[in-house]
């Protein structure tokens, strides 16, 4: 199991690197899909199949489809790839690199000090437990989230109106 965990983790990291360095937008998005699938695999292995399945349904199956849908309609080709090559200068890398190093520092701190080993890897969190938590301690967050979604829905309806 540990082997497959690191395998999936490696796939996630490598495909994410391809997303960043890729010059063809559609290929970059496909690598992002692979990365999301690998993360879903990690969820399954950590004993959270519900979260894993939702990751695939929502991110890989719906959000990324819409991304690819839009990018597909842009007239891409050699020019875009050249433009991308011109835009990716060392200067552009600087600020994101600093932010990433800060995050990496936090991650290393957790890893080196041992962190708190979470029980997630030893117990399976199924759909029922997720539901109990969502409508118990996290009820307020769920309600706020649904308000936000409703607002987005109304806004989308307004934007898409025929007049």
């Amino acid at each position: 199991m540990t082997f497959f965990f690191y395998l999936a983790a490696a796939v996630a990291v490598i495909s994410t690197l391809f997303v960043i360095f890729g010059r063809n937008p559609v290929h970059a998005l496909l690598n992002l899909v692979v990365s999301l699938l690998a993360v879903a695999g990690l969820f399954f292995m950590l004993g959270a199949p519900f979260a894993g399945a939702l990751e695939v349904i929502v991110y890989a199956g719906a959000i990324m489809v819409l991304f690819v849908f839009v990018v597909m309609m842009l007239n891409l080709g050699k020019e875009i790839e050249d433009q991308e090559r011109r835009w990716l200068t060392p200067k552009v890398w600087f600020a994101p690199a600093v932010l990433s190093v800060l995050l990496l520092g936090g991650l290393l701190d957790v890893l080196l000090t041992g962190g708190q080993t979470h029980a997630a890897a030893t117990t399976t969190i199924d759909a029922k437990q997720v539901g109990v938590h969502l409508f118990g301690p996290y009820l307020l967050a769920v309600e706020l989230g649904s308000m936000l979604l409703l607002a987005a829905l109304v806004a989308a309806y307004h934007l898409g109106r025929h007049d």
């Binding site: 559609v26 290929h27 496909l30 899909v33 879903a40 199949p49 519900f50 399945a53 939702l54 695939v56 349904i57 890989a60 199956g61 719906a62 489809v65 819409l66 690819v68 849908f69 597909m72 309609m73 199924d126 759909a127």
Partner: protein, 336 residues
Amino acid sequence: MLDWFNAHPHLVDSLIESVKAIVVLLVTVVVAAWMIWLERRLLGLWQDRYGPNRVGPFGLGQVIADMIKIFFKEDWIPPFVDKLTFIVAPAIAMGLMLLMFALVPVTPTWGVAHINVGLLVFLALAGLEVYAVMLGGWASNSKYSLLGGLRVTAQTVSYEVFMGISLMGIVMLAGSFDLRHIVEYQAANGWNIIPQFFGFCAFVTAAIAVVHRTPFDLPEAESELAAGFHTEYSGMKFGMFFVGEYVGIVLVSAITTVLFFGGWSGPGVESHAWLAFPWFAFKCLCFMSGFILLRASLPRPRYDQMMAAGWKVCLPLSLINLLGTAAVVVAGAHGA
């Protein structure tokens, strides 16, 4: 030899399970290929003509002849396509469909994967299926293919929304995402088709749209888009899209049987365990023939009509079904 088997019971178990998985895979592919023959013969019957009847008894060998032919065709990749994506797309189409079949509980003892969120995994894989057609359409780099790809994406994304919602009524009744558990619930409490009739209507509509089968085959509407997303495909790559579609129909039939028509359960299964598979196969065959009858009888709707039907009829229908089922389940829990 026997000692070795006795010494490694764990290994033998996984070996047996692997063989079962391969048998399920092969049977699925063979049934899907044979369904091409079934479809052509049934269409012939309903349209008052013969259909393929020359190769072998009843024309059964037609599928084999077609397969041999398609394997030896030139596998042509046009120079203007995005090569990698072009090659991967048909593999995704067929591979994901076959992967979904791993979730189907065929009989009490047969079935490849037993996952306690089986239904969610099914929805997840169905959601990924759209990439096949989308990428095929995009990578082909031709306007007909791209239009086909765009249509299929919009269609699948819209219909998947309520495909999931229409199944949640069943999850509430059975209290589980586990497909095996859902079948057992139906064996004890009667088939889901009766309490979940509206869910069934919405699900079957959505399932036909997701496997883009006639009457919802607008992505490959030959009258306006040449062959749609697979215009540039030939040889075995086209074959994989083609057989993938039939695997999709077999899969939808199997899933409908499992979710709404009691799966393997039927009269006599309790006393004669061997009847489980014949019942399952018979129910699937009824649905497969039903889908062929739909193709034979219904014209293709206009694209805007199809989208309107999805969002304005099926989505509200499945939402009301969800609320109604929830109300009944909660009332039952309080009353008991």
